[in-house]
Symmetry: C2
Subunit: 255 residues, 2 copies
């Protein structure tokens, strides 16, 4: 089996992977640089690294249009709200199923269009009730191989926990198998986190080597029920903030 | 200016960027997967992540041939020696100018060949006396755009310090301008480290936005002389180990 690793159409589409070390979060910048307006999207921006991301966007001459979340994160505050307050016209995006607030609430089959680049919305609940995967289109003008931004549904050789935020191991198993593992094997997998220093995988690789999702459903459920993970450190701060995409109502001044 | 970001020939060459968090080091895996033997090279492997890297190489069905260093690192122990002891036939590589021991000592103009993939050796001293940049060839069967593995000579929006290991700010300035900034602007820059979560840049981007190397030579030298950096934590352990590419003589057993 040949594993492809880098999207083509390199001269038409810009792609950058960015890392936030404290929460081991990956943020992705995509743009169609063939269009004069150079529209761009950030997937899973982090509050701490918003200035880095905006500086890069400025250097590259891009115009940020969408700030997109794969789900309501529990381990960091999304940069979506800060991006909206710093760049006028930015549209925040999250799934309708997340019950979070955002400018645009997406559902299965919806498409986010950035220049000629298409991101299709695949529902992949299980880590949280509202997790989605964004996957690039399969047309001839789209990146080849396709690129899947899987959030915490599918991590490289792992997956997100299923014990908070409406999580369900049975749902996650179904989501990954029906929505992600059904994509072409060479599809690139770019997750929201990695804790071991991997940057990318492929659908083919995870179908063969993911230590959890290669198991049968009952074994998977048992693995997920016995992880004995600690209570998420940031959850009580991050989830309320992320339910409004990081955009808090202005604090009334009382001086 | 259009910035390209991902190498083409995705189906012929495999490329993976890997991260070691403690030292913020990037290791790169490259292979020619179009050849039945699937020869591979690791650039700047780290001792702590050798098992991760070998597991990935095994999963991908590759055969590791070369373990290459851009220079004698001072902040981590290279994985080269461990790779040699775990995989028979692996050839360690470092520059002749480094005065370090290795199976293969390379000089300006030398080429490392992995399947059809060519890595050319560019001398880029200044961070250390023996730093080299490995850049992919410019033939039609090579990745487009070209990929430069710059070690610590050129970092994204930065550069390596010049106050140890035969470092020289004047040399580094000359190296980057003559050897790296003379490459095509779309050439991808993959450094040995990043501390802000960037994963890649381009020659064009660094020529325009690198806060140090866009300055004139005297200003650059003054910046480098006034960094006031702490003594490198790991240097007294890492440099002696890396002068032999991490391969210590076996300790004689005295029982
Ligand atoms: Fe999450
Ligand atoms: Fe170094």
């Amino acid at each position: 089996m040949v594993f492809h690793t880098t999207p083509s159409h390199a001269s038409k589409y810009l792609f950058r992977q960015l890392f936030e070390k404290d929460s081991s979060t990956y943020t992705y910048l995509l743009a169609d640089v063939s269009h004069p307006q150079k529209h761009a999207v950030l997937i899973d921006p982090v509050d701490k690294t918003v200035d880095r991301d905006l500086s890069l966007i400025h250097n590259l001459g891009l115009k940020l249009i969408y700030a997109v979340n794969t789900h309501v994160h529990a381990d960091h505050v999304t940069g979506t709200g800060m991006l909206k307050s710093k760049v006028s016209g930015v549209i925040s995006v999250i799934s309708k199923a997340s019950n979070a607030k955002a400018d645009l609430l997406v559902e299965s089959g919806d498409r986010i269009v950035v220049g000629d680049l298409v991101l299709e919305v695949l529902p992949t609940p299980g880590h949280t009730v509202g997790c989605v995967t964004y996957v690039t289109g399969d047309g001839p003008d789209q990146p080849q191989p396709r690129i899947a931004f899987t959030g915490d549904a599918l991590l490289i050789r792992g997956c997100g926990r299923t014990d908070f935020q409406g999580g369900s191991s049975a749902e996650l198993y179904k989501s990954v198998h029906s929505q992600i593992f059904s994509l072409p094997e060479e599809t690139l997998v770019y997750p929201a986190h990695d804790y071991k220093g991997f940057t990318v995988s492929t659908v083919g690789e995870e179908k063969q080597y993911n230590p959890r999702l290669t198991k049968d459903k009952e074994t998977f459920k048992s693995i997920m029920e016995n992880l004995n993970l600690a209570y998420p450190k940031m959850i009580d701060v991050a989830v309320p903030a992320n339910m409004v995409c990081g955009l808090q109502d202005p604090v009334p001044t009382t001086h």
